[in-house]
């Protein structure tokens, strides 16, 4: 039996193969025990990507973080912290502030228009969930579509897989959660753990 390529399956999941392609691959997937699970994994990854997509820009300067990280490694932590200090030119404040404010307005309004109110409501949902966890004051380790994570009192640290990789998760009662991923292209196996101390 000739199987569709992984690229064709990915296009099929997005219904991007055209009428005939979708029909042909769909019939194959419905009957094939190898491709069926792969399509379901791609659908889950697609759903996770949709949840992860979007977001309003905030205060973080990623270029600075990258520079600081490299400096930490090469020069030591103290030097890295020096790199992280803001390089502020007082004379540039006024026009930069204006441009920044205008850009923020543009991004926020554009983001609202692009995403629509339904998306905004969904984006607010996690806060309710985390508030509930804070009330319980438990430490929670959980597996989600976006990976595995640790939560406590409304704070969270999660570790995500590379795109499109299917997770196999197991918990240890000693206080850890493990997820295993296989990258079919490189054959590399990645194991993520989150721990409670």
């Amino acid at each position: 039996m000739t199987h569709p390529s992984r690229e064709q399956l990915a296009l099929f999941v997005g219904r991007d193969l055209g009428w005939w392609g979708n029909r042909t691959v769909g019939r194959h997937v419905a009957a094939c025990k190898d491709c069926g699970p792969e399509v379901r994994a791609l659908e889950r990854a697609r759903a996770a990507a949709r949840v992860e997509a979007g977001g309003i820009p905030s205060e973080v300067n990623w270029d600075r973080l990258a520079a600081e990280m490299k400096a930490n490694i090469r020069l030591g932590v103290a030097a890295g912290e020096c790199v992280s200090l803001p390089q502020v030119n007082p004379l540039a404040h006024s026009w930069r502030a204006t441009v920044a404010l205008a850009t923020v307005v543009l991004v926020v309004v554009g983001g609202w228009w692009w995403r629509g109110p339904g998306e905004s409501q969904r984006a607010a949902a996690p806060r309710v969930s985390h508030d509930q966890e804070a009330v319980r004051q438990e430490v929670i380790l959980k597996a989600t579509l976006g990976g595995i994570g640790v939560e406590r009192g409304g704070l969270a640290l999660a570790i995500a897989p590379e795109k499109g990789q299917e997770r196999i998760a197991t918990a240890s009662t000693l206080g850890s959660l493990r997820a295993r991923y296989l990258d079919e292209n490189t054959g590399q196996v990645t194991i993520h753990h989150v721990y409670v101390e």
Binding site: G55, G80, H93, W114, P126, I140, L141, T173, H193
Partner: protein, 376 residues
């Protein structure tokens, strides 16, 4: 639309840079701790796709870090573990990323991606946001380098032993049954990989009993060659939640044990059996001694769609033992051919990788891979 997304992200980066210049709060940082004598060196660190998103009263940070490392030692690297900590975000919580199944020769480079999401209040104190530290490196002669704070030596060693076990098994099938026998074995494995899996959530810090809770006894699968034998065990079960497992084990080997792990299977009302987790112990267990393993964690089970999976019965078996001299025991392939285990357990990572070689490149490529690895 893709182009618009890119432009949007470009605007975001520019905005964030300007906003940062205005803000005195710029102590956000990632620290990478690499000991001076580490057998790997860092060539580059890229955070190209990192971003931040405001969600209600919280800030979600997506830190997408790609490290490029070089094997600067004299031995081939089989695995590497990085510890990730964020005291500010999750006091007491930490994570790790292990790259297993590597085969990196001295002087060669390899990538490690670490994609993190942090949720924290918008207002926060200064200080490091995330620290990444090398926890260990496993070499091809199964020796280890590193502080091993996360017990990564045992994790990577058990993984490598499991991988060797699977390669030996598939190569033996090829030698004894030929290419067609190997194909049948691989197809049977692919079939098992489609079985539904359980999602599990672990909670710590709650000791109160849930209403309608009942005591459920463990049934045990006993492997003749296992150095540790389960004797008895129970857990409190309420619906889709099991808590406070208690298991008595006995060391029947002649060597002291410093770590043991009991795998925990649960069966739902429809008779489906799943791997729920493990019940480990780090206590020293002398030869002939018995030990009661007791943990206060709660496990909640749900299927892949998020529906609770009520627990009807439970089974346990010893799945890993580490002796005090550092040697590790895992079950042999024969023990795992039990029909129940075949249905309930996910195939090992190496089995999954080998069957993926078959699916993507065909039988001949798999045979070549097995021959190459067995000659090593």
């Amino acid at each position: 639309m893709f182009m618009w997304n890119r432009i949007g992200f470009g605007v975001f980066v520019a905005t964030a840079a300007l906003a940062q210049a205005q803000s005195p709060e710029s102590q956000s940082s990632i620290k990478v701790n690499l000991p001076p004598d580490a057998p790997v060196s860092l060539l580059s660190a890229d955070m190209g796709e990192s971003r931040a998103a405001e969600r209600g009263g919280a800030l979600v940070l997506h830190l997408n870090t790609a490290l490029v490392l070089r094997n600067s030692g004299s031995r081939r690297i089989r695995g590497i573990t990085w510890m990730v900590q964020s005291q500010e975000v999750t006091p007491g919580g930490r994570a790790s990323v292990t790259k297993a199944s590597l085969d990196v020769a001295p002087g060669e480079t390899f990538p490690v991606r670490v994609d993190l999401r942090l949720l924290r209040p918008l207002t926060r104190a200064g200080g490091s946001m995330v620290e990444m530290s090398l926890d260990g490196v496993l070499f091809d002669d199964l020796t280890f380098y590193g502080p091993n704070r996360l017990d990564s030596r045992r994790v990577m060693l058990a993984f490598e032993m499991e991988a060797q076990r699977e390669r030996r098994h598939f190569f033996h099938v090829y030698q004894s049954q030929g290419a067609e026998g190997l194909r049948r074995e691989v197809i049977a494995s692919i079939d098992r990989q489609g079985a539904p899996r359980l999602d599990v959530q672990l909670a710590r810090g709650r000791a109160t009993a849930a209403s309608g809770e009942r005591e459920v006894q463990f049934a045990f699968l006993r492997f003749p060659e296992a150095p540790v034998e389960p004797v008895s065990g129970m857990a409190f079960v309420s619906g889709a939640e099991a808590r406070a497992p208690r298991v008595e084990v006995s060391n029947r080997s002649s060597r002291p044990v410093r770590y043991l792990e009991l795998s925990w299977l649960v069966k739902d009302g429809r008779g489906h059996e799943f791997l729920a987790g493990t019940v480990p112990s780090k206590a020293i267990l002398a030869p002939g001694q018995k030990l009661e393993v007791l943990e206060q964690s709660s496990l909640r089970f749900q299927d892949s769609k998020g529906a609770p999976v009520p627990v009807e019965s439970m089974t346990g078996f010893v799945s890993q033992v580490e002796f005090s001299d550092g040697a590790v025991w895992i079950p042999n392939r024969g023990s795992l051919t039990d029909a129940r285990l075949q249905r309930a357990l996910a195939p090992s990572a190496e089995e999954q990788r080998l069957t993926s070689v078959y699916r993507k490149k065909g039988l001949n490529a798999l045979v070549d891979e097995l021959k190459r690895l067995s000659a090593r």
